[in-house]
Structures are given as C-alpha cells and as structure tokens.
Symmetry: C2
Subunit: 268 residues, 2 copies
Amino acid sequence: MKATKLFRAGEHPVLKDEDAAATPLCTGVDKEDKHLGKALHKEIAELQEKLYAERDRKVLLVLQGVDCAGKDGTVHNLFRKINPMGLRPVRFDVPTAAETARDFLWRVHTQVPRKGEIAVFNRSHYEDVLHPVVYGQIDAKDLARRYAQIRDFERMLTETGTVLLKVFLHISKDEQKRRLQERIDNPDKHWKFDPEDLKHREQWAEYHAAYEKALAETDAPHAPWYIVPADSKPHRDIAVAMLLAETLRGMELAFPPGDAKLAKVRLK
Amino acid sequence: MKATKLFRAGEHPVLKDEDAAATPLCTGVDKEDKHLGKALHKEIAELQEKLYAERDRKVLLVLQGVDCAGKDGTVHNLFRKINPMGLRPVRFDVPTAAETARDFLWRVHTQVPRKGEIAVFNRSHYEDVLHPVVYGQIDAKDLARRYAQIRDFERMLTETGTVLLKVFLHISKDEQKRRLQERIDNPDKHWKFDPEDLKHREQWAEYHAAYEKALAETDAPHAPWYIVPADSKPHRDIAVAMLLAETLRGMELAFPPGDAKLAKVRLK
C-alpha cells in the first residue's frame, strides 16, 4: 500500500497516543529496513536532480510535531544523498520583532522554494494555529479566518507550481518523556532544551486537539496532511522518505530534452 | 602538512595550468582516499553540531572557480554527513533587477550565515571583480575601490563572529574541455550548459589574470584564500574537506556547559 494512502489524515483525523508506536512500513529486520531507507534516499536525490534540471516546479515539505517529535532527525536522515544546492531547509523559531510586525504568513512567504528546489519547513505557519489556540489568545472568528487564510495561501502556492506535502510526526506522551529525559540526563544535550518544552507538555491534550482541528481544516487534495507514527525513529524515517518519494514520482520528472545544435559542438 | 598551509594563496598567487593536476593529499590508493574523505565528512558534521549548539559564531565558505571547476560537486560531497538544518547553501546567479538596483554587496549580505550556521557560497561577490575586469566594464580607480570594499566587508564579517575561508577550485584548460565536452555529449546534461560558458572559455587567460589580482588584493589572515588543485575530483574533495575541518578545529568548538538545575529534573 502506498504511504500516501496509508498515512493520509483525512477529514476527521484523531491523534491517539496508542497509534504513535505503529510501524506498518518496517519489516522488523533491521538490515532490510536500512536497505529500504537507503534506496529511498538515493531515489529522492535522483528525482531532486531532475526537479532542479527542469527548473520549473518546486516542492514544499512541511514538518510539524510536538517537541522531540523528531523534526530535526527526519531532515538529517531524509536528505543524506541530496545535493544541498537544491535543498532549502528552513527553521521557524519564535518570531522576531520584524516578523510579528507583519501578518503571520509574511515570514513563511519569504522562504518558499524557488523553481527546482525542495524546501523543508521545520515548523511553519501552523504554529500560529496551535499556541494561540492552546493559550486562548485567539477567538473563534479570528481562528476560522486564519484557517481560511492558510487554505488560500497554500492553494495559491500549488496553483503557481509548488507541490505541497505536510507531515505531522506523531509521538506518544511516553515517548516524549523518554526523549526529554534523555536530553536532561546528558549535559551535552542541554542546549537542545527549552524550559517551554515542559510547559507545552502539560498541555498535551490541548495541543493535540488544536492539531486535530488544524489538520481537518487545512487538508486538501493539493495540500495533503499525513500523520506518521514516529515513536520508532527507523519507521518515521522510512515513512517520510516514502511520502516524499511517492510525491516526487507523481510529478513525472525528467531531464529537459537535449539541444540538437549543441550536440554537434566539438571543443578545441 | 596542513592543507591550510599547503594551499594558502599567499601574497602573489600565480595560477598555472600545470599545477591544477597536482594531488598532494591523495595516497593514490582509491580505498584509502575514500576512507580519509569519509572520516573528514564525519568530523565536519560533528563539529558543525557543536557550532550549532554554541549558537554564537558562524562559518562562511566561499567557493569560486571557472565553469566546470566542480563547485556543485564539491558542495554535494563535502556535506554528505551534515544536518542540513545547520547549512545554508547559496547560489549566486546572474543578478536580478532588484539586485543590480543595489550595490554589489547587497545580495551577498542578505545571505550571510546566522549564528550556528555554515554558509557555503557557490559563486559570490567575487564575480563582481572578474567579469567587469575581463570585459573592460570597470576602470582602475573603481576596481581598486571595489577590492577595498570587499576587504572592509569581509573584515566586518569576521569582527562580528564569522569565520571565513575562501577556496578557488583550480582546473586546467584541458580539464575544462573534457568536462564541457562531456556535458555536450550527454543530452541529459544539456540543462547544465550555458552558451556563455564557451565565451568565457575564450577569455581563459584574462579570467585567470583577474583571479590572480582578486586573490592577491583580498587575501588576509582573517579572510584567507586557498588555491585547490581540482583536476582530480577525489583530490579536490579531500582538499576542501581538510581545509574546512582544519578551520573548524581551530575554532575550539564545544557543547555549551550543562545546566546543573536541569540535570535534577525527573519527568512524570
């Protein structure tokens, strides 16, 4: 079964803790899983070169998930074989003063991929329909508007040549505990730690409710959401690689036709 | 011997065709060279993580060279192990209208690395002291000013926490011929071909004279130029990896100290 079918969020996504540990794409044999992962990374790199050669369309991968869901690790593993010149990795941190002085889509718009590029957003405009909801900083009317603004923005991007896929990395509360505690127990990893992470963890149910709503409101055939079970890092990596590979395959990428005149040139 | 000593351009660099084929860093045994390359890529990735953890300083690698010198291939191979989230690859193409409407450093300045990042410039502000010189579009006074502006700009970058290294990938005219002809003979590579490449090739001596002058004018202890013999791709890759690894080692990077209070936290 295709990953793009298996993980599609659908109209009424429900984020259950017990689903986060599923590993439908892993064989269970470590060596086979690694082999599959490597083949996918190689295929992604090859398809990206064609995307780059074509210099017409763009790809945007949006990665979302709670703290420790594995967004950084996913980016690291997914693009091992790719030429970085065709990749635009973008991290969205706490907005700067210049960013909050504009609308919430402004900083995101400045970072969309150029023709030939794959951009990966590590967090995104979806942060703006999560925290404000959990902390009651936005009323129902403004929130509904914001969902609509996201839908309009994403539709415009896809109408102008961007292929979009959005991935929610789904981990359980227990798995987050393990990963946070691991960071706490290793002083060399304290730099990864943000005291806010513990506050967010206390609002686990509220965040997941906000995610369910956001996914439901912004899923579309041209802007699909996928929910990837991510308690298992090997499974997460294979699942996201499959989603991206299937998406790129669907674009029917090919090197531009050669130039018959050029083919005759003999250099001195 | 250190690569940073071996390849340093020095005060009066001379770019001779016959030097481009040198392979002082290769053992000649393919397996050993690959092993060395892999170890360097791993070390670069590890040091980059510390740079990122520190989030204080930045690194800027400038790559220059004639068409087909291997700038793209170098970027692809150099960063195989790195987490792309800490890398900013930037390509400078023909300037856009918005770019030519500003000074020549403007578009470069917008792309300098953030704290914790390694940026790699595939071409750079040095293009502005090459083509205009070769095609006689700049007079001596303006050119002297431009060199000084580059020196000032780079000094400012290093004074504000950027570690800078600049690499000229040195290939011979014969090697360029082989690589261009290869592109011509493979229709799937025609997209890489720019008719301008053949025009530039006719001005080989003029371009290299402009490079010699630019390197001499802008080499400084804090903004060193390295000339890497690049006819051999394996040698080129090892040499640039060594230059970057030695530069990163010199920064004495380390994970920030842990937080004693945090270490006591036990999650529920």
